[in-house]
């Protein structure tokens, strides 16, 4: 970090403290007391840290899902829809009920494929008909979410769920292993490993260079014998698969069954994390942890101080506003 970056980080923290403090004052709570409560609820105990990591996992995966196409200069806002469709296909794979030993790989594969398919739709529209991917991914988010709602209210509704719209419970054989005695599942490790692999690919490999070239000067592509179309499909599919993994991991290992509207804006947070990180993997990891902690604090706060969790959504929004306003978090990589 050089001097200007440090200055901007300081500015962002000061702006955030002022905005959040002002908000807590407005709703009649002591600002310092609330900020302290948030830190305690996010990182004050082993359990709190576990919950923070748990909330950070889908956000990190969705940030990676945004970031991979962004390396090519694409603005995909579709992680949320890909997450839903991954969960949908993964759950479908479980319902086809293979032998227990095959369940976990088949369910995970379903999540990856589902997410990739949902990302390939806007990618194909972009390649074939020059349809702007930002708008198409936004609209497809709602379609995917409604498809999940339809299935859990209708054909996939479990008879054991006593009227609550949800699929059957995932058996233990279809769940990712847990880390230690926490609720954190192996999806976090997968996300971290994938992040590091992507970081190395972006910074060290020929593919990373190809993406950099195509982003900064698409007209060079034919001269260099590169196909933009192929890279659009590839980056969108990789991103989609990662978001799909977030969806199926959340469904199988955290909630234990497919439910309507389970994403809680993870795709949205992931997009902002990726964008603020300037499409760089390592800052995205740090920011995802921060946002995960804030969201986990929201749940804790509701129990401890009876402040509704929507207040934490406001705080999260204020944090993004402060970060964006202070600037300097976007690198030259952000967009050509």
């Amino acid at each position: 970090m050089n001097g200007t970056q440090l200055q901007r980080a300081g500015l962002a923290i000061a702006a955030f403290a002022a905005l959040a403090g002002g908000f807590f004052g407005l709703i009649g709570r002591g600002p310092l007391e609330m900020l302290q409560a948030i830190v305690m609820a996010a990182a004050g105990s082993r359990y709190a840290v576990g919950e923070s990591l748990l909330r950070a996992t889908p956000i990190l995966l969705c940030a990676l899902a945004t970031l991979v196409p962004a390396r090519l200069g694409l603005v995909s806002v579709g992680a949320e829809g890909q997450l839903y469709f991954g969960a949908l296909v993964g759950t479908g794979a479980l319902l086809l009920a293979p032998a227990p030993s095959l369940q976990l790989p088949v369910v995970l594969l379903g999540g990856l494929v589902g997410g990739a398919v949902w990302a390939l739709l806007p990618a194909l529209l972009r390649v074939v008909a020059d349809v702007n991917e930002t708008i198409s991914t936004l609209m497809l988010n709602y379609v995917a979410s409604l498809l999940v709602t339809w299935l859990v209210y209708g054909p996939w509704k479990s008879p054991q769920s006593q009227g609550w719209p949800a699929s059957i419970e995932f058996p233990d054989s279809a769940r990712l292993p847990l880390l230690g005695d926490s609720r954190v599942h192996a999806g976090l490790l997968v996300a971290l490993v994938m992040g590091i692999v992507l970081h190395l690919l972006f910074t060290r490999s020929r593919w990373g260079l190809v993406l950099d070239v195509l982003r900064s000067n698409p007209r060079l592509a034919p001269l260099a014998g590169l196909s933009i179309a192929r890279q659009v499909l590839l980056t969108m599919a990789i991103g989609g698969a990662l978001a799909g993994l977030a969806g199926i991991a959340e469904t199988a290992s955290v909630q234990g069954r497919l439910q309507a509207a389970f994403a809680n804006g993870a795709g949205l947070s992931g997009f902002l994390v990726a964008w603020l990180a300037g499409s760089r993997v390592l800052p995205a990891m740090a920011l995802a942890l921060l946002v995960g902690g804030l969201l986990a604090a929201g749940d804790g706060l509701q129990m401890m101080t009876s402040v509704p969790s929507s207040a934490v959504l406001v705080v999260q929004g204020l944090m993004f506003v402060a970060l964006l306003g202070a600037g300097g978090w976007r690198s030259e990589v952000a967009r050509g």
């Binding site: 008909a129 379609v143 409604l146 498809l147 339809w150 209210y153 207040a311 964006l324 600037g327």
Partner: protein, 291 residues
């Protein structure tokens, strides 16, 4: 299922569904005309819906509620203006941050309003209400203003080329802030029309993507205020039809039918993109998408 019952009164229900969206569309049209694309309209609509509903419930005066909704959303759009104009932050990211802020703030403020009943507007012939007339009347007003006045010309000039506009003696940032604020006011009116008039209730996240759909439909309407009317009607028709089919005991389940407005909007968007190859929009806006 008899087709006559399916189609009876369909135009009126389509209009009712379209009215809130039309207001938002007009606002986002103006914002995009000055070269900004504001995904925060979704949050602005929510804030407009909750403020409008709350004030109507307290005062019993739906027009006061509409004004409160417009004011609250305009206030939130000021955050977007600060981020993108003063701090030069990315437009998409700023819009999403504003959306999140609006989602949280409206949920927080509206927790006491769930299940509350209001009187709302008097219903006229064919179930049509004043918010529809307001929305429809604003279409020619906005269009004539944008195409027929000097200030309208200045707005279009800023959207085409801020540099050239500056050379002509216009201060681009003022026009851009005004365009964002106009979008804020109208998205708030749209949100308030939704909660006060269309659903007559408040629920968390009740706009369900209408604001984002509006962002896409502005492009379908080729940034032309006149064409926002058919674009909004397309969404309204798809929504009214899905509700109809559901009430008529269609074999297709309700949640599946609810995807219809999004799929229809996306289909039209894809077709217009393919035919016009992304041309026709304000040049300063194209630069946001260009890569």
């Amino acid at each position: 299922m008899a087709d006559t019952s399916l189609l009876q009164g369909l135009p009126a229900s389509a209009l009712r569904s379209a009215a809130p969206l039309l207001l938002v569309l007009l606002g986002e049209c103006l914002t995009q005309r000055v070269g900004r694309i504001n995904l925060g309209v979704e949050g602005q609509m929510l804030v407009g819906a909750v403020a409008g509903y709350g004030v109507t419930a307290l005062s019993g005066e739906p027009w006061l509620g509409m004004a409160a909704g417009a004011a609250a959303a305009a206030l939130l759009s000021a955050v977007y203006a600060l981020l993108t104009v003063a701090a030069r932050a990315d437009q998409f990211a700023s819009g999403l941050a504003v959306w999140m802020l609006g989602l949280g703030a409206s949920a927080y403020a509206g927790s006491g309003l769930v299940g509350l009943r209001i009187e709302g507007f008097a219903v006229g012939a064919a179930g049509l209400t004043p918010t529809l007339w307001l929305a429809v009347a604003l279409v020619p007003l906005v269009a004539l203003w944008l195409y027929g006045t000097r200030t309208g010309l200045a707005w279009r000039a800023v959207g085409e080329s801020p540099g050239a506009a500056r050379a002509a003696g216009i201060t681009p940032w003022r026009v851009i802030v005004a365009g964002i604020a106009a979008g804020g006011l109208l998205s708030g009116l749209g949100g308030a029309a939704l909660s006060i008039d269309h659903t007559r209730s408040w629920a968390e996240g009740m706009t369900a993507g209408r604001g984002l759909t509006a962002v896409g439909l502005v492009i379908v309407a080729r940034w032309n205020p006149w064409l926002t009317l058919p674009a909004a009607l397309l969404f309204g028709l798809a929504e009214a039809l899905s509700l109809r089919l559901q009430a008529g005991g269609s074999a297709v389940p309700a949640h599946l039918l609810h995807t219809l407005p999004y799929i229809a909007s996306l289909a039209v968007f894809a077709v217009t993109c393919a035919r016009l190859e992304g041309g026709g929009g304000p040049a300063a806006l194209r630069a946001v998408f260009a890569r």
